[in-house]
Amino acid sequence: MFVIRIPRYWRSKGFRYRLEGYRCEKCGHFHHSPRLVCRKCGSRSIRRDRLSQTGRLISYTVVKSSTPLFEQYVPYVVGVVKMVDGSLVVGQVTDCDPEELREDMQVEVTLRKIRVDGENKLIQYGYKFRPVIE
């Protein structure tokens, strides 16, 4: 608890770094983590797939109270992004002031520091969203 569990962080880096997850070959449903069974249709035919790298912000919040290891980043923005395939991904929205946030704004995936474990100083990197730079 309250520390970065290194093997866990390591084995989930596909989704964390690249939004690479697991899609059901039967119904098309996307899972962020490895599955043996599709959670939606029960099929056992699952393949690796990568989500689109852009999406639309459908909801957001400015976080003022945080959990441990995130205190120094307050205030930060957490949003829900609808990806091209319709999957929703929750993630931080960076490089954007709260007053610049708009529902339906286009965002793109970027890699950022998510948190640093004060104990072993491991840096956890992962996806965040940011307004598309056009």
Partner: protein, 384 residues
């Protein structure tokens, strides 16, 4: 199938119990329940606690409580289903009694969040979602609630006043409750002027760190007949699950697990929603009160705020909710919370609710949620 009754309860005040341990709080509520019922022993103990292995670094709370009560030897376990653990513990007891393998079960829920920091508590509350795509990226229980809140206001084109009014109702109801964490009234402007935890969710729309323990004695009809204490019938208890993260679901604003558990519960008993006298809801964040009422079919979608402001949901309204202050004002000692909810429904149905007593109560509905309905438990209690 054996009928199951609630024959007694015991509550501690919800608050910051710096000088008491988790096991002392649990023992205190359990002894109150046993004394109230006039029992010195039970057949089984079922403990509900959520964060003991983290905050107290303590497992085997069943055995610990048996030891505290001086009844070591009795079968005792702990049940976990996130913030709905207390309801899952009751379900365990109900199943055991219904099956005929046991007659009297002590269900005791306890939590002591103040052994950790506020930041830690927030992290713990967030474990009801899948961690890799929630807690681990800086999202937490209240930020998810805030995301749903904004979606809700947008979809139904409503202002914040209605949802924020749920906090006003809870505090109004808690103002006369001895065991409540926050027994005072607040106005809508207090809610809306309080700082944001995660915009648009204000601090006064959330729950705070709390310690507390609550206990119930559940028993079979045989035993119930022998006990002098007032009884309430457990007409049904249904649990359903859903994807833990709301944004993985078909509709994030619909708690399908709760819709399923409440619908099947009412249809099994053969009553309509209109016959439910009051509801104890799971308002761990204001928006959850609205989503609960709408998902379980008591209020049309998008209309909860309107209902809250109209007075319909107040103690003297047609569908009172959170008659002792709910999670918001009575407090939310997580593992104990559903036990408080059921104990409060018991007090209503046995006419022991004091200043908060409702008239003409027959059916009380309790709805408990883990997180945003990863587990939803609906419990129907009936006047005997």
């Amino acid at each position: 199938m054996q009928k199951v009754y609630i024959a007694g309860y015991g509550l501690t005040k919800v608050g910051e119990h710096w000088d008491k341990s988790l096991e002392t709080l649990m023992a205190e509520s359990a002894l109150k329940a046993l004394d109230y019922t006039g029992l010195s022993r039970v057949d089984e103990i079922c403990v509900s606690n959520v964060y003991g292995e983290v905050l107290q670094e303590q497992l085997v709370l069943g055995s610990v409580l048996a030891e505290e009560l001086g009844v070591s030897g009795v079968p005792a376990v702990r049940v976990e289903a996130g913030a709905a653990s207390g309801a899952a513990a009751i379900r365990y007891a109900v199943n055991a009694i219904q099956s005929g393998i046991t007659n009297v079960v002590l269900v005791c829920g306890g939590e002591k969040l103040t052994d950790g920091t506020q930041e830690e508590s927030l992290s713990l509350l967030s474990m009801d979602e899948r961690y890799e795509v929630a807690g681990e990226i800086g999202s937490h229980f209240f930020s998810t609630a805030a995301l749903l809140y904004r979606m809700y206001m947008r979809r139904y084109d409503v202002k914040q006043d209605g949802i924020a009014s749920f906090s006003v109702i809870s505090h109004e109801n808690a103002s006369t409750v001895q065991h409540a964490q926050y027994p005072f009234k607040i106005g809508l402007e207090n809610v809306l002027n309080s700082p944001y935890v995660a915009e648009p969710l204000h601090r006064l729309e959330t729950t705070a760190q709390a310690d507390g323990a609550a206990a119930l004695v559940l028993c079979s009809e045989n035993i119930a007949r022998k006990l002098d204490s007032p009884k309430v019938l457990v007409s049904g208890i249904h649990l359903a699950t859903d994807f833990p993260n709301p944004f993985d679901r078909e509709d994030p604003l619909h708690i399908q697990s709760l819709a399923a558990s409440t619908s099947s519960l009412l249809s099994m008993r053969g009553i309509s929603r209109g016959e439910v006298s009051f509801i104890e809801l799971f308002d761990a964040a204001s928006i959850l009160a609205a989503l609960s009422l709408e998902s379980s079919g008591f209020i049309p979608r998008g209309k909860s705020g309107e209902a809250a402001m109209s007075g319909r949901l107040s103690l003297n309204g047609e569908l009172p909710i959170n008659t002792f202050g709910g999670l918001k004002a009575r407090g939310h000692p997580v593992g104990a919370t559903p036990i408080y909810q059921v104990a409060e429904a018991y007090l209503q149905l046995t006419r022991q609710a004091g200043k908060n007593q409702l008239d003409n109560v027959r059916f009380g509905l309790v709805e408990s949620l883990a997180g945003f309905g990863s587990s939803s438990v609906s419990i129907l209690l009936e006047e005997v």
